[in-house]
């Protein structure tokens, strides 16, 4: 027999932990259709029964206000799982039962997993499990999700319930005379008109009308506008009456009575408190230090620096392995394949592309491990708590800081994991604003560009310049977030109302599963698009290539240079390996040939699609002080920001310039007419703000759920960057900085 079981419950109730215990590594992570909420599924086998388990998003309630709640509700009514397992935190029973009551009102076949009884006991809370089960009319199974205790009993109960009943009678909670009267009247209308009753219980539909639930009301209006109108009229009447007599809204009365029902349960001996709720738990004692006015921020800076260090320092080793592997692969291909377009495609398009995709994997793994550790331990909620006041000013959320830091808020991060880090944000508008502005931070790939320009023009003020650049990107990101939140992502801040969960030691298994899931999703979903774009960018920088006549010119030059020296020297150079001492003549010849290669590469680049675009844009970009060479380099930077350096090298006929050692190029720039400290500053500003690299764009698309935001970030960021660069360059020129 196959049964579908839905896991539901409050956030922090141990739901994910239980899901991991039940399904182990046999999980499948997808998305609910049309939204960015994760859908996790897995299988559990017991006594020949295969149980298909769906982990619903954690919610406190079942209103239509958050995507998570709508998703959970829709899944339950549309997919009709055989059983709903409601995971309830025993140490927090009253609040957790609020959701339970709402499930019972919808009439789902249910089993309650009473989780963390051990914690409750330690806190002096005794729960009469049998009484709770009798009063609610559903099986209650004690579990300890962290260790997997009780999971077999839980599944046995779930199988039993799934076999027994298809539909149970919805729980009826009394909401006081006014509401109850209206409910009866509305139920009759609903039942006689068969109004949505195929999907929902009649009384529940009536309740949702009284609560003003937008989703149900719009469904109702579509189904039968007449009936819907009747129900709305009754709601209006009751609402007016309650306002006049009690100065209270129906939705408030409904919530009060649900908690009243739960309190009545508790008073019938379900909950016995040996201590008052007021006492300080261990967690509170930790908070006295960790969120202390003075110590709190210091500890937080330490933890964020630690996360940063962990992500970017420890991942260096595996990143290095990957880099050398793909470097080796590229070399191997270049020695075994004949020179030509195909080789160029394989090396610069495919190998570099795959290398680029996989190069981020260690970063993503380390970052998600670090963030999962902070999240599961409960610390992340404290960060949001401490920083909310600051970030709220800019229309963001306290949790936005994680994405900023990882993206390069401490210079040298990476926006790819940074954009993914916005998943910890639950409020959609704040999240979108964060993921669109996080790429303004100074990622590790922008640093070589800054290093090049600083070395060329601001050598004496290196440290100061880096600080200024970091400040500019933070200020820019926050101000632009504010701008976005007051224009295109307008809307009130989502209520902060947030639980500070007790500190808990995360389980290694949970951390490992979480990290692996995210990493795999990145490889699977982003990988293919990134590879495709990398091939397209290669084509842009390569085609249409030099016309044959020009190529022949270069060949002629080479022949001429070789003919000018005696044949022995040519042979010596051709035969020489990498580390062989050459004669003076051969060294000179090699220099000449390399210079010709560089000029040919330069000419090829200039003739490519990217080059032509760069040249065409010069008339516009000169306002910011950029010539066509800079333009081409910036186009190349869309592949990855450090490519700006190597492309500039090609454009100045210096051959391949290693971004890490750009001394020759910075010397060249400092001597080239047209370059000045002001032009360099303008380019620095542009580099901070312009379009994110395409890997980041792909991540923005994935995380926002729409190509629209990916394209927006390319166009909008480039516009912001251009306007700022023009402002700097023009104002600077006027006050005479340009000379």
């Amino acid at each position: 027999m196959e049964t579908t079981v839905a896991l539901a419950g409050n956030p922090n109730s141990g739901k994910t932990c239980l899901f991991n215990e039940l399904t182990g590594a046999r999980q499948h992570v997808g998305n609910y259709p049309g939204v960015t909420v994760e859908k996790k599924e897995g299988k559990f086998t017991r006594n020949g029964h295969t149980i298909h388990i769906v982990d619903l998003p954690g919610t406190y309630s079942l209103t239509a206000y958050s995507v998570e709640e709508v998703v959970a509700r829709d899944f339950l009514v549309n997919d009709r799982p055989g059983v709903v397992i409601d995971i309830v935190d025993a140490s927090n029973l009253e609040r957790n039962l609020y959701l339970t009551v709402q499930f019972l009102e919808m009439g789902f076949p249910m089993v309650i997993a009473l989780n963390m009884g051990d914690v409750a006991k330690k806190r002096g809370i005794d729960i009469d499990i049998e009484k709770l089960s009798i009063l609610l009319g559903v099986p209650v199974i004690p579990t300890i999700a962290r260790t997997g205790n009780g999971k077999e009993d839980l599944m046995d109960a779930a199988i039993r319930i799934a076999q027994e009943e298809k539909q149970r009678m919805p729980l009826i909670v009394s909401y006081g005379d006014d509401i109850d009267g209206a409910l009866i009247e509305m139920e009759e209308i609903i039942n006689t008109n068969v109004f949505l009753t195929g999907t929902y219980p009649a009384r529940w539909i009536a309740l949702k009308y009284l609560e003003g639930d937008e989703q149900i009301m719009s469904k109702g209006q579509k189904r039968n506008p007449g009936v819907s109108k009747q129900l709305e009229n009754i709601t209006g009447r009751v609402s007016d009456h309650l306002q006049k007599t009690l100065n209270i809204y129906p939705e408030a009365i409904i919530a009060d009575h649900r908690f009243g029902y739960i309190n009545a349960l508790a008073r019938q001996g379900v909950i016995t408190l040996r201590d008052s709720h007021d006492r300080l738990y261990t967690s509170d004692k930790i908070d006295k230090v960790v969120t202390n006015r003075f110590l709190g921020p210091i500890i937080m800076i330490g933890v964020l620096m630690g996360l940063y260090h962990f992500t970017f320092t420890y991942s260096e080793v595996p990143v290095g392995w990957l880099e050398s592997f793909f470097g080796w692969l590229g070399n191997a291909v270049s020695t075994h394949m004949p020179d030509g377009l195909l080789r160029s495609l394989v090396i610069s398009g495919i190998i570099d592309g795959v290398g680029g995709v996989l190069g981020f994997v260690p970063l993503i793994m380390f970052m998600f491990f670090g963030i999962a550790l902070l999240e599961d331990s409960g610390y992340l909620a404290r960060v949001a708590f401490m920083l909310d006041r600051v970030f709220r000013v800019f229309g963001l959320h306290g949790s936005s800081v994680m994405a900023y830091i990882v993206s390069g808020g401490i210079a040298g991060g990476c926006a790819v994991p940074g954009v993914m880090a916005t998943r910890t944000l639950k409020s959609p508008r704040e999240r979108l604003a964060t993921l669109l502005t996080a790429p303004f931070m100074n990622c590790g790939a922008k640093l070589p560009v800054f290093a090049l320009l600083i070395a060329a023009f601001f050598e004496k003020h290196e440290a100061m310049m880096m600080l200024v650049i970091t400040l500019i990107s933070w200020m820019g990101a926050l101000l632009i977030a504010k701008l976005l939140r007051s224009t295109i992502i307008k809307g009130e801040a989502m209520p902060f109302v947030m639980e500070l969960p007790p500190y808990r030691l995360p389980t290694f298994r949970g951390l490992a599963i979480h990290t692996w899931e995210r990493t795999w999703q990145y490889i699977k979903k982003a990988g293919t698009i990134i590879l495709a774009i990398s091939v397209i960018l290669w084509a842009m920088m390569t085609f249409p290539g030099l016309p044959d006549s020009q190529r022949q010119e270069f060949d002629k030059e080479r022949t001429a240079v070789m003919a000018a020296v005696n044949t022995d020297t040519v042979h010596e150079l051709e035969a020489a390996g990498d580390n062989v001492e050459l004669s003076l003549g051969a060294v000179e010849l090699r220099g000449h040939l390399a210079a010709i290669d560089s000029r040919e590469a330069d000419a090829g680049l200039r003739n490519s699609l990217a080059g032509r675009t760069g040249i065409a844009l010069e008339s516009v970009s000169k306002w910011a002080g950029f010539d066509w060479r800079t333009n081409i380099a910036l186009i190349g930077g869309f592949a990855a920001k450090e490519v700006v350096v190597s492309t500039l090298g090609t454009a100045y006929s210096l051959g391949d310039v290693d971004p890490e050692e750009s001394g020759s190029l910075s010397e060249m720039l400092s001597k080239t007419p047209g370059w000045s400290p002001l032009a360099a500053l303008s380019l620095i500003i542009f580099t901070i703000f312009y379009a994110p690299c395409f890997v980041t764009v792909v991540m923005i698309v994935r995380e926002s759920g729409s190509w629209k935001w990916g394209l927006f970030s390319m166009a909008f960021n480039t516009l912001v960057a251009f306007l700022s660069a023009v402002a700097v360059f023009q104002i600077g020129s006027v006050i005479g900085m340009g000379i």
Binding site: Y65, R95, Y98, Y249, M494, M498
Partner: protein
């Protein structure tokens, strides 16, 4: 016995909620977390910049912004 706005409560002060004067999403979220008339609350502390506030409600810790606490009336000793 006086009725205070929650924003005016001091650290470690306890009280009983008498009214939550807001509807819509904010009202719903406040109530979903158990802040309904009759519930006992205690202020555990405030964030370093004095906002949000951390409360003890039914044995767990809840945080609210001051401008959200403004809608909640509390009866204190």
């Amino acid at each position: 016995m006086t009725i205070l706005n929650m924003r005016e409560m001091k650290e470690n002060q306890s009280g009983k909620i008498t009214a939550v004067n807001v509807r819509g999403e904010l009202g719903r979220r406040i109530r979903d977390m158990g802040l309904v008339p009759g519930t006992e609350v205690k202020v555990l502390g405030r964030a370093p910049l004095f906002d949000p506030v951390a409360l003890r409600v039914m044995g767990f810790t809840l945080t609210l912004r001051n401008n959200e606490a403004d809608y909640i009336d509390v009866e204190v000793e």
